[in-house]
């Protein structure tokens, strides 16, 4: 199937290329007008919307954080008060975990994975749009509730019995459980999409062992989503049923068990941390390789570490429950497992250091964020190993030590790499360069601000300051360190505002980026910035791990029909071409289906009639979604 021919750039071949481009543009044209906005299914458009939405939620979560920090800045402060403070930390935690961290990582995946594997788009563009809208509806619902004083107030893991019907009457917890269900539905759809895109749409020649590490990270993460998210969906469903129709899953009076909630929640909750963190590791790998100008040291150990982390990540959940009085043996086991997971993370850190050490470093802003990540994450990892041991955990459980630990891991492990990734891929997404001086200033400020905010919290925790308190007495002596943390939070805010300014300035008047401003190795840098809706004029084929450093333009796929939305399906392992598949175009049904999902879930809070309603709406949507398109393919000979 492969042939070598000599080609020359003749007038003939140039007009051929122009025609190809015209036809592709026509076929993959984006929807226009107001209505078109709601029908669009192009993956770069949807991913951009996901990214913007996720950062809006990051900003909202950040405002809540600042309000909390203001409240805690000095002793005996009453400007927020207990009820509002409860809503603030709950909505902050839930926003950051469910509406920011997971979606933002998936959005990066949806944007970049198809480009990196040499595909025109994702495997299921409509499902992608559906996932986005469900996520959006869930997030808006949470904030409408917060602003109408029905914001959830039982913490981001809403333990029963506090969140059960007896101690939390009203609708607040119902809002929380439905929001979680929305976001998990969205995350599951996106994960399935990413897995199939990665396994079936890779460019010919990109065998699994040639996939970029970022793609590996997204793939492994998506599998974790598939097996972790059902646990929390089931848990929130059961909670909703306990609250709404009187089941007794968690009611100890008639055989249920509150601890069952904790098991289910953390069976999801611990993997969740890795779901947020593994894609960030993938971004770090991309950045490290590009800016040290050499192949990564230890590709295979890196991949194996990702996979090992995923497996181990499912065996740790009980370390969140050490304070519940478990059997000794269980405690020993989960302590060992929790410490063991430091090994694969350590392997990756050493591989990066070796790569950087032996490379020719280009000290651009993305790399600075990577350095920041390594520093912060190591501290977070160390406090993690500390709380993995039961005696220490019993001391610091539910104190600010845990708050410090979790922010070191989540912000250090995910937000810093993400900011690095944003600086790295911004030219690809927009076609504009960010300013390096502002970028580095942004890094210095965020790094300083972050440590000023969260390092004191370790000490506060060790001194016994509990988490989730809205104020404290002056006699406790917690005042000065809290003030320091609040000042730090504003420095962090300043840093993030510098990053934002940089972005806005670049959008308005940034330097033109061109396709490959960093001389990177992976395929996404071979196409225009931003990519055309069809992404690749000629689908690429690859023969190594670093296609752009190995001369990718020497090999192209030919014979795709530019007049149809065709994608090339390849074999899952070795990416040999298999068949050519035609994708459906834009459609309003993903949006309508998401609205139907939203109406059903929200009505469920008020009446069980939501079930038949949902059934009816769901059927209509299924039929609409799968309504046969006008045939463009060979028909079966025998027809009605």
């Amino acid at each position: 199937m492969t042939s070598t021919v000599a080609t020359e750039s003749t007038p003939d071949s140039r007009s051929e290329d122009a025609r190809l481009e015209r036809e592709l543009t026509d076929t993959w044209r984006l929807c226009r007008g107001f209505a078109g906005w709601f029908c669009e299914t192009n993956h770069t458009v949807i991913a951009r919307r996901m990214l913007v939405t996720a950062f809006v939620f990051f900003a909202l979560g950040g405002v809540e954080a600042l309000l909390m920090r203001l409240e805690l800045a000095r002793p005996d402060n009453h400007f927020i008060g207990p009820d509002r403070y409860d809503q603030l930390f709950t909505v902050h935690g839930s926003t950051m975990m469910f509406l920011f961290a997971v979606p933002v990582m998936q959005a990066m995946g949806i944007y970049l994975v198809p480009l990196m594997v040499g595909a025109r788009t994702v495997a299921f563009p409509r499902l992608n749009a559906y996932a986005y809208y469900t996520y959006l509806i869930g997030g808006v619902f949470l904030y409408v509730s917060l602003f109408t004083d029905t914001g959830p107030d039982t913490g981001w893991f809403s333990y029963v019995p506090l969140s059960g019907p007896q101690f939390s009457p009203g609708k607040r917890v119902d809002v929380w459980s439905q929001v979680v269900t929305f976001t998990e539905l969205s995350a599951l759809s996106t994960a399935a999409n990413l897995i199939v895109t990665t396994l079936k749409l890779r460019a010919p020649g990109m065998a699994l062992n040639r996939m970029p590490l970022f793609v590996w990270a997204e793939l492994v993460t998506s599998f974790m989503v598939i097996f972790a998210m059902p646990a929390v969906m089931l848990a929130t469903m059961c909670l909703a049923l306990d609250r709404l129709v009187g089941t007794h899953f968690f009611n100890s009076a008639v055989g249920g068990d509150p601890l069952l909630w904790q098991h289910l929640f953390w069976f999801f909750g611990h993997p969740e941390v890795y779901i947020i963190f593994l894609p960030a590791l993938g971004m770090v790998s991309s950045i490290v390789v590009t800016f040290s100008r050499r192949p990564v040291v230890g590709y295979l150990p890196m991949v194996l570490s990702l996979v090992a982390t995923a497996f181990l990540g499912f065996g740790l959940w009980v370390h969140h429950m050490f304070a519940t009085g478990l059997a000794e043996l269980g405690q020993g086991f989960f302590t060992a497992a929790s410490i063991m997971i430091a090994i694969p993370s350590g392997v990756q850190i050493f591989c990066w250091i070796a790569t950087l050490w032996s490379g020719r470093l280009v000290l651009a802003t993305p790399l600075w964020f990577v350095f920041g990540f390594v520093a912060i994450f190591v501290v977070g990892g160390l406090s993690g190993v500390m709380v993995a041991s039961v005696p220490i955990d019993l001391q610091v459980h539910d104190t600010f030590f845990v708050v410090a630990h979790l922010h070191y891991v989540l912000i250090g492990g995910a937000v810093f790499p993400l900011l690095g990734g944003i600086h790295y891929w911004f030219p690809k997404l927009t076609g504009r360069m960010l300013d390096e001086r502002l970028g580095k200033a942004g890094f210095v400020l965020t790094f300083t601000g972050f440590n000023l905010t969260f390092f004191p919290m370790h000490l506060l925790g060790l001194h016994g300051m509990p988490r989730r308190i809205y104020t404290y007495r002056a006699a406790t002596g917690f005042g000065p360190l809290n003030l320091l943390a609040t000042v730090g939070a504003f420095v962090l805010l300043a840093g993030l505002l510098v990053v934002l300014t940089n972005v806005v300035r670049a959008l308005l008047s940034g330097r033109d980026a061109g396709p490959d401003p960093w001389q990177s190795d992976t395929l996404e840098w071979s196409v225009a910035s931003p990519p055309a809706p069809y992404v690749y004029e000629h689908l690429p084929c690859v023969a190594g791990r670093y296609p752009l450093w190995e001369g990718i333009r020497d090999c192209v796929v030919e014979g795709m029909d530019p007049r149809q939305r065709q994608v090339l399906v390849t074999a899952a392992l070795d990416a040999a071409p298999d068949h050519v598949y035609v994708l459906p175009g834009p459609s309003i049904w993903p949006l309508l289906s998401a609205v139907a999902t939203g109406v059903t879930f929200i009505t469920m809070i008020f009446t069980p009639w939501a079930v038949p309603l949902g059934l009816a709406l769901g059927t209509v949507c299924l039929v609409g979604w799968f309504w046969p398109r006008p045939p463009h393919e060979p028909l079966l000979a025998e027809q009605p």
Partner: protein, 201 residues
Amino acid sequence: MSERRRVTVRELPSYAFGPRDPMWWGVALLMCIEGTTIALLLLMYFYTRQRVDVWPTTAPARDSLYAGAATTAVLLASIVPTHLMNGAAYRGDLARIRRFMVLMTALSLAALGTRIWEFRALPFRWDTDAYGSVVWGLLTLQTTHLGLGVIENLMFVVLLYRGPVEKKHLVDVEVNGMYWYFVVGGWLPIAATIYGEALFR
């Protein structure tokens, strides 16, 4: 002048069965998600069980056993037309696909019928106690899988008779068959758990 390697895909087919097809993977992942949910709910059943002295707190009545057995029988029977339908799909034999699809859909509707009987035969409600909640939970979960399968089957019947039937629909028929296997397969451990206990006490 440059050397360019070319990979020609002009001759490739426009569809393929089994794991070669993206939709097959999509549905396989859906099965992973739903399968995990079933497994977790079964774990909840056994978790709750070890905390309660008398289990089942209210034994399923004789009628329940008949109803459960009926559902199981109907679902197992539906495997036969599903298997034959897949075979017909590989051969592109539209007439046989239609016949078996109708048969399979009829059986899936029958299973929905016996499922209603099952619910009505249970001698306890979801709000009786934790045992009641988890049994109703298991049955409801499986009913959603069953219901989704039934809706899909009905859509296929309409498509196959109204047309136009394209070749790639053959793959969709196969994938639908695979999902149906999952519906049946997912039911067996649930049935064994709910009714087995009452049977062998």
